[in-house]
Symmetry: C2
Subunit: 328 residues, 2 copies
Amino acid sequence: MASLHDVALIAGVSKSTVSRVINDEYGVKNATKIKVQKAISECGYVPNQVAKDLKSQKTNLVGVIVSRVSSHATALGIDGLTSILEKAGKHVLLASTHQEHQKELEYIQIFNQKRVEGIILYATHLDKVLVNAIQNSNVPVILVGQDGSMHNIPSIVHDDYRVGFEAGSRLIAQGCKSVGFIGVQGDDVAVDKLRSQGLTEALEFNQLPLLFHSRGDFSIESGYSTAKECLANFNNIDGIFCATDRIAVGALRAINESGMTPGKEIKILGVGNDELASVCSPTLSTFSYAFDKAGENAAKLLLERIKNQGHEMSKVVLTFQNIERETC
Amino acid sequence: MASLHDVALIAGVSKSTVSRVINDEYGVKNATKIKVQKAISECGYVPNQVAKDLKSQKTNLVGVIVSRVSSHATALGIDGLTSILEKAGKHVLLASTHQEHQKELEYIQIFNQKRVEGIILYATHLDKVLVNAIQNSNVPVILVGQDGSMHNIPSIVHDDYRVGFEAGSRLIAQGCKSVGFIGVQGDDVAVDKLRSQGLTEALEFNQLPLLFHSRGDFSIESGYSTAKECLANFNNIDGIFCATDRIAVGALRAINESGMTPGKEIKILGVGNDELASVCSPTLSTFSYAFDKAGENAAKLLLERIKNQGHEMSKVVLTFQNIERETC
DNA sequence: TCTTTTATTGGGAACGTTTGCAGAACTAAT
DNA sequence: ATTAGTTCTGCAAACGTTCCCAATAAAAGA
């Protein structure tokens, strides 16, 4: 692969001159410029960005770590963040951990070696080692989806506690008295802990107990089986708040099969406003989360951090919107 | 940021020795090794991959270009390809064109400058300039979703013609006589041209004409409005083949509104086996496409090309599965 | 003790750029 | 024709690695 040096040889000039032509700097004679350009196309020279990056000590690279690309939240998030980063001339190095938690650590390290200028991390669980890795990173790390601000990690989060509280209020307003929650296993603070906590406190505020708190994974199937189990264990349920729309869609199926009608005898709420929610039957009442904005904000916040070492914003909390459909 | 040189100064040895310790090569005295390791952690040295890449003339980087991350096909594809590439020690540079066609050219160029070892391109439309750019690339380019094999571009495709033919056969087997097609605008050979062509020829094979060929975009909404229009223009439709499940879901809604029952008076088929298809009502009969396998195969094919310059495989055609549900 | 072998270390070029500085070539003015 | 000023070009160092080769140090054999 041709280098500056080769072009210089062909054109019969020095590397410096070729470099000047490429970056069209002032002060190179027109005749030589043409000579060089001819040489460039002759040998099909393509500038080597690796060498440039080394010389300039700047990569224009941003690392993005997700656990899975094909989830509503991350896919939309990536679209959001790439649109912002692209405008800033940054390129995205993408790593998927494929749900293997410790890969997050690996990639933070690898990205540091690759001299990315910053990292956007879609985390599901913030444990001590991860926090440590983030704090030891030489470049800024922005957390998306989980709150790391107590560890001084800038974060983009959705208002998970409040969505839980609002869900409780909506269910109560619909007359529900026996309300349960279906969340997820693992230590997902945002999806399981905060949403259930908000719900519980809205119920308590109205002197109602939380009937149950079961857990599945993020699949429709697990929503179905978990809901089925709950329906068998409690015969007076009149409201279920599901931590995600996919879980809710599964629950809907279980309820339909039980002979009840979601939205009538039993109210259902999901979270996320997944496209599924408008398509399932009955259509799912839920909360719209701005996953694309989460990505955009993560990118913007990161760019801020890269530019000035100043740290004005430490956390961005995104609001949500009530989506009223048939199930509540 | 500390470099080998800094470590060497602190440890009181030469750069060469430090390098040897880092890559734990044979032939360095234990005492000095310890000395160096202490120096490394003292100054928080992190190896510079950019310099390594330059020196070794190897980046272990693969470029991936998509038009949008948040589409069923690309999101699953990316998950598939990252899982393969990761095992091969390659890292992914991701670019989204956000549906701007000419950005594909830009990124092919940028990726070449960045010295990626290969490129995976999710294209929607293969025109002359794009083919040219691909052929002028210094590194192998694998096309996903569209067939570029006639231009000697290795491609991963789904069997779009055959899915159309099969759709026609299924509709005819269900007794349909007045069948139409809803595709997409633009010059999408895979999604619009081939699928409609297969359908048309299956109908012709049974002496039936194609009642209509309308076009929308990839949204549910456009499936709805296009289908509504068709229902108004033709009053005897008894079968519609939709180029994607999202379009089909929109069409379903239009048919439901019209008072007919999809699956009874009018049969509907989609393509892709999107999760929506199992959730909508009535559930959508469709064809399952292996989007994840497409990504995996693209990665494998690319790795082949990177390793040996040989070119055994030029095209991989992925099959599909009939998914029978309520609408056909 | 002196040589020979072996183990350990350092020097320096190279990867492909950019860039400050100095030298060369030209132009214009004396 | 000399000088002074411009304009243009080349040399060489630097970015952070790796790695060949030579040099030194240690150990072993004579």
